[in-house]
């Protein structure tokens, strides 16, 4: 029983981890290559989830329709944001970028409340994924399993694109020295737009995948955004590898901590102490982890290798 529970929680952690990876992969590229802080990434995730839920309900519960609306929709929205706001901020300092994208968050949170109302919107798990998968005698929801599979596939795909293709080479080169790449005749602005669009599409994909298992509501992007920032800082800014391992670490530590830390503390301390302290420490665990990483390795666990 306990082993089964532990395995289930481990898989839940893995599922949260791959979801965080979808978000942090795009964001870390934007950070690393353009040196831009984009807090509105969480809003793109939220918009992806809303697009998905709206399409899902409009097309009679077709998950395919949701995917076909959510991912390209978020991609277009991301490109629009890049053109209208972020492009003029590339050469400004981080403070201006933080402020402008903070303004965007407030804007989008109200826009969804205006369009879809203040109550949460629901989206069901598609019928063909509503069952459970039997993993070594352990029943696990098929949809959550599908999230893990999609996340791992995207991870492998990104790895291949970045390390095996010409565009990927340019992206890596842009991350280490954008001016030099530009001097060699590469359209760095176009590359920036491409990377930003890719990040937005991945955020939309994350929103789509999360749609059926979370409540889609205004402000849903912020907690996820902050987790994503933790992932990126822990893993190392600009590093896809760092985003991948960082996301899995954060997802698993957070889930396992919340599930088992209160029980564990009850073994060690007085019941009342454990009940008061357990949830507090569990919710602080990943931030403590990040603080520890930064105190010992300020560049993150898996920094980008230059040179």
């Amino acid at each position: 029983m306990t082993t089964g529970l532990f395995l289930t929680q481990l898989l839940n952690g893995l599922q949260l981890g791959v979801l965080l990876f979808l978000l942090s992969a795009g964001l870390t590229l934007v950070f690393g290559i353009m040196d831009v802080v984009n807090l509105a990434h969480g809003s793109l995730y939220m918009m992806g989830a809303y697009f998905a839920a709206a399409a899902f309900n409009a097309f009679g519960g077709s998950f395919l329709a949701a995917a076909l609306v959510a991912v390209p929709g978020t991609l277009l929205l991301g490109l629009l944001i890049e053109q209208l706001v972020l492009r003029t901020l590339y050469r400004r300092d981080h403070l201006d970028q933080v402020l402008a994208t903070f303004g965007l968050i407030l804007f989008f949170n109200e826009v969804v409340r205006f369009v879809w109302g203040p109550a949460s919107v629901y989206m069901n798990v598609p019928g063909w994924l509503s069952g459970t998968v039997n993993l070594f005698g352990l029943p696990y929801p098929a949809y959550r399993f599908a999230i893990i599979a999609v996340g791992l596939a995207v991870g492998a795909g990104l790895y291949a694109v970045i390390h095996r293709t010409r565009v990927g080479m340019l992206i890596r080169a842009g991350a280490s020295n954008a001016d030099m790449v530009s001097a060699l005749g590469v359209n760095i602005k176009g590359l920036n737009t491409l990377v930003f669009g890719l990040g937005a599409a991945l955020a939309g994909l994350a929103g789509l995948m999360a749609g059926p298992i979370v409540s889609v509501q205004s402000g849903m992007g912020e907690p996820v955004l902050i987790l994503t920032l933790v992932v990126i800082v822990t893993g190392g800014i600009g590093s896809i590898r760092g985003a991948f391992y960082g996301a899995l670490i954060v997802g698993i530590v957070d889930t396992i901590g919340r599930a088992f830390l209160p029980t564990l503390l009850r073994e060690l301390f007085d019941r009342s102490v454990a009940q008061a302290v357990g949830p507090a420490i569990a919710s602080m665990l990943i931030y403590l982890l990040m603080a520890a990483v930064l105190a010992l390795r300020p560049q993150g666990l898996f920094p980008v290798k230059h040179g």
Binding site: L99, L106, F108, E222, A276, P279, Y287
Partner: protein
């Protein structure tokens, strides 16, 4: 930024600053005169946030450290009042000592870790620490948890009766003036010179032999303590403490206020806090006479604030007061 010419005593920025501060000093009188007690509450909020934004300005404006977590110090101040008053300690001086003590220690520890990083990582790690404290406050079920808790009573500072709105107002006003005067001395002192030097070129300051980390950390702790004071006032104003005081949006709003008013100027954060809070108040109760538009604006004014912030960043780079200072005379 061009300094105002020393020869002229009366300049537009100085007139603006004097009018702003004098105007704030007259609010209780005007509120009494026009029979609008609500103004007093609104403007006490303005003062509290002006105080917090001024505190943030020390690191943000004069030290170029973009802290995205200063709301956590507002929270520490507020919870020091809340938790002590929950246990029957309503002596304001004890609360002040506890708040400043805890706030100072937290700022020292958090600052020491955060300042190992710079740039983007600094923004994010300060945000993460603030979130950590936010979740800690949410999990304190004995003290209201997510819902927050009502204060048993306001802090008692000897003869000062904070239950009278005007007394609380003038306490906040006096604190703000004190902090502004102190910061004026501080940024023009040797310490301030070093801090501003680090803003321009930290490596050069370090090679001149200044222990830059120590200066930056001191500035960080001082700015945190000012926010702790603001938090204590906020708890007393609302007679309520809740984790929402240290939500990350509050940290964002503090940055907005500082930048909106004018980064790295003493009066800027005061002007910015007043402008942002008054615009928010104005939008949420705006009456244009077109019913459907009024409803949309009053319910979704945050969207307009969002656009407003984006436009300020894109267009008005120096902020309100900064624009006055930089203007050709």
């Amino acid at each position: 930024m061009a300094e105002a010419p020393a020869a002229r005593l009366v300049t537009a920025p100085r007139v603006f600053a004097a009018l702003l501060l004098a105007g704030l000093g007259l609010v209780p009188v005007l509120a009494q005169l026009f029979g609008q007690p609500f103004w007093l509450t609104l403007f006490t909020r303005v003062l509290v946030f002006a105080l917090a934004a001024s505190g943030l300005n020390l690191v943000l404006g004069f030290g170029a450290m973009v802290s995205f977590g200063h709301a956590m110090y507002i929270g520490i101040g507020a919870y020091a009042v809340g938790i002590l008053s929950f246990h029957g300690v309503d002596n304001g001086f004890v609360q002040l000592l506890a708040a400043l003590g805890v706030g100072g220690l937290v700022a020292l520890g958090v600052g020491a870790i955060c300042l190992r990083t710079s740039g983007m990582a600094f923004i994010m790690i300060t945000l993460a620490f603030a979130q950590m404290l936010f979740f800690l406050a949410v999990s304190l079920r004995d003290y209201g948890g997510d819902d927050g808790m009502q204060l048993a009573g306001r802090s008692r500072f000897g003869a000062l009766d904070l239950n009278q709105a005007a007394v609380l107002y003038y306490l906040a006003y006096a604190l703000l003036m004190g902090v502004l005067f102190g910061f004026h001395r501080l940024v023009h002192s040797r310490f301030g010179m070093v801090l501003r030097g680090c803003r321009s070129n930290e490596r050069r300051m370090a090679s001149l032999g200044f222990p830059t980390l120590r200066y930056k950390l001191s500035a960080y702790v001082i700015s945190a303590l000012v926010c702790v004071l603001a938090g204590m006032l906020l708890a007393n104003l609302a007679r309520f403490v809740s984790p929402s005081y240290m939500a990350w949006t509050v940290s964002g709003e503090l940055i907005v206020m500082t930048v909106l008013g004018g980064l790295g100027t003493l009066i800027g954060p005061v002007a910015g806090a007043a402008a942002l809070l008054l615009v928010e108040e104005g939008l949420s109760s705006l009456k244009l006479g077109v019913p459907w538009l009024d409803t949309v604006v009053n319910q979704h004014w945050l969207a307009l604030i969002g656009i407003f912030i984006v436009l300020v960043v894109l267009v008005l780079k120096q902020g309100i007061y900064g624009w006055l200072v930089a203007r050709k005379p």
